[in-house]
Amino acid sequence: MADKSAGRSVIKGMGLPLMGNDIDTDRIIPARFMKCVTFDGLGAYAFFDERYDVNGDQKDHIMNDERYAEGSILLVNKNFGCGSSREHAPQALYHWGIRGFVGESFAEIFAGNCNSLGLPAVRVSREAIGKLMEICMANPSPVLTIDLKEGYVSAEGTAFPASLPEGYRRALIEGTWDVTQTLLEGSGEVDRKYRELPYLRGFT
């Protein structure tokens, strides 16, 4: 993903309130759009069936609202991204323009996928998300700030405590979310483990 070289301590952008609990990854990107061998074109299909009816006409959806066309921080409720492990879901949202998530809670695999892509998915309280959504509904312009170092999300001068798993937080701040290189550094120990594991050495 972009900005790979540097850490991302502070993410700013317009908030996009998307209400609802248990929004699954099939809704974020319907399976029929996963017939692809790259992630590049997925942005157009983010929330496709929620944004368009069967005739292809636009439905009433925040991502169809021109006033939010520049929105880049998705505000969600509980258990966002549950269901399928498809990385296509955060990829589709990233390619649509999303650069961060603020929500009450996230499904585990989705949160891990966001981390792999360098996208913060931070948790705030129910009251906080209610307030943040209210602010963004009333006025589509305010800039939201996710501050990972200080651990808050703010809008219009009000700050709300925000958290995410410590490993993810540090990876984002230090710009190390692409872990392949780090994992390769343990290669010698991995080879040793391969020789040691009972089921890989034929239980000898």
Partner: protein, 472 residues
């Protein structure tokens, strides 16, 4: 205090603590399919990295393949391209591949156990959330995203946070005609679709010990639907008996030594857990979902809940479910007319599932208005079903008996619902649009319940269609 299986396997596979505090974990078995892997191979090439241990990854094609014809090129050019890319990638990197022409092809979570690749004590990953299935053997098995597929290919390891462990004790015996699927749906209904986030589930208790391996796979498969990434059953004699003679399982003296290892990684009797949940098996009825997530489930004789009896969060999703499903609070599910019946998937596409469904369908005819499909989970399941004449039982009952694949579970192939059809499905997800039509509606239930619905045309208690001789 003793140690539970999860922590034993975790510690056995831990390489080191990474600078950001996560653990680097060795992945003993990596499974691969066509949907979530092409981008991973591309990333690998961009990084100019090789596959570290190609012999520890096994691939098949399952999601996109048609279930009526296997002739190449596939009719859908996008599906053909995905298959071709997987063929190229596995060939180029020397990864064993069970392709369309292989007699071992099938849904990845069905063929892993069938071939004996899945074994107790392993860490197992696949770019697919239903990887939790393999926990049935007493393994830590979980779904991952494509970037993590890349990491396993390149390093055979992942960066992970350790889960907490919840012991789920199922006391007593399941009633006759109540299946592992019903137990799974009941647990999700009780604990919620997000109740398991951050947890691995250890299933235990009399009812779990009594489950066959295939039933344990169904139970573990559905774990992710309750938010937990990992679900497992401690390995026991049932597990060992299943593994004996499987192609990739140890044999002879090695099997005896393996058994010692497998027993050693089971949870200690005095193991510590982060949480403990108890449920009485005898109180569980055949379950049916009425909503848009697997937690929105009720017993066959119960009524759809009133939003005021639910928490605010659940009520919000219930209202959304009512709008999509066309159901109302207080409605029964029994008697609901269905359009399509689907028996298959990594949840319930094994031979025992087909046997259960065939027992209901034998000598019956499907309702005229129902389209009924039976899709075996693998070529091996298909062969066994044919040997037992199950395919004929289904065909005589008017069901379509098709070829192995994921099929209408997620409809990435031509098997799809149309319009707002209602499907009785033995699969795992009733999410909006899941079965291929944005307006389609899914009622999850066990294979026997799906077969019963296909016969009567309405949601039916399958126990009423069984003869007296069909005692469990």
């Amino acid at each position: 205090m003793g140690t539970n299986l999860f922590n034993k396997i975790w510690d056995l596979h831990r390489i080191r603590t990474l600078p950001d505090g996560m653990d680097q974990i060795f992945i003993g078995l990596h499974l691969l399919h066509e949907v979530t892997s092409p981008q991973a191979f591309r990333m690998l090439e961009q990084k100019e990295l090789a596959v570290k241990y190609p012999e520890r990854t096994f691939a098949t094609v399952d999601h996109i393949i048609p279930t009526d014809s296997r002739s190449r090129p596939l009719e859908d050019p996008l599906a053909e391209e995905m298959l071709r890319v997987l063929e190229d990638n596995t060939r180029r990197h020397g990864i064993p591949f069970f392709g369309l022409d292989s007699e071992d092809q099938g849904i990845i979570h069905i063929i892993g156990p069938e071939l004996g690749l899945t074994q107790p004590g392993m860490t197992i990953s696949c770019g697919d959330s239903h990887t939790s299935t393999h926990g049935a053997f007493g393994a830590i098995a979980f779904g991952i995203g494509t970037s993590q597929v890349r990491d396993i290919l390149a390093t055979q390891t992942l960066a992970l946070n350790r889960s907490r462990v919840r012991k789920i004790e199922v006391k007593g015996k399941l009633l006759k005609g109540v299946t592992a699927k019903d137990l799974a749906l009941k647990l999700i209904q009780q604990l919620g679709v997000k109740g398991g986030v951050g947890y691995a589930y250890e299933y235990c208790g009399e009812a779990v010990s009594n489950l066959s391996m295939e039933e344990r796979m169904t139970l573990c498969n559905m774990t992710i639907e309750g938010g937990a990434r990992v679900g497992y059953v401690n390995p026991d004699e049932t597990t060992f008996a299943y593994l004996k003679g499987k192609r990739f399982a140890p044999s002879g003296r090695a099997f005896e030594r393996a058994e010692v290892f497998w027993k050693s990684i089971a949870s200690d009797p005095d193991a510590a857990y982060d949480d403990h949940f108890v449920i009485q098996a005898g109180e569980i009825e055949p379950m049916v979902t009425w909503g848009i997530n697997p937690g929105q489930a009720i017993g066959i004789d119960q009524r759809i809940p009133f939003p005021e009896d639910l928490s605010d969060d659940e009520a919000e999703v219930a209202e959304k479910a009512f709008r999509h499903m066309g159901f109302r609070e207080g409605d029964p599910v029994r008697g609901r007319r269905i359009d399509v019946a689907f028996i298959g998937s990594c949840t319930n596409g094994r031979i025992s599932d087909l046997r259960e469904a065939a027992r209901v369908a034998r000598g019956m005819k499907k309702a005229d208005h129902v389209r009924a499909l039976v899709v075996p989970g693998s070529m091996a399941v298909d062969r066994q079903a044919k040997e037992e004449g199950l395919d004929l039982i289904f065909k005589e009952a008017g069901f379509e008996y098709r070829q192995a694949g994921c099929s209408m579970c997620l409809a990435m192939n031509p098997d799809k619902l149309e319009g707002n059809q209602i499907s009785a499905s033995s699969s795992n997800r009733n999410f909006i649009g899941r079965q291929g039509s944005p307006e389609g509606r899914t009622l999850l239930m066990s294979p026997a319940m799906v077969a019963a619905a296909a016969i009567t045309g309405y949601v039916t208690d399958s126990r009423e269609l069984w003869g007296e001789a069909d005692g469990r």
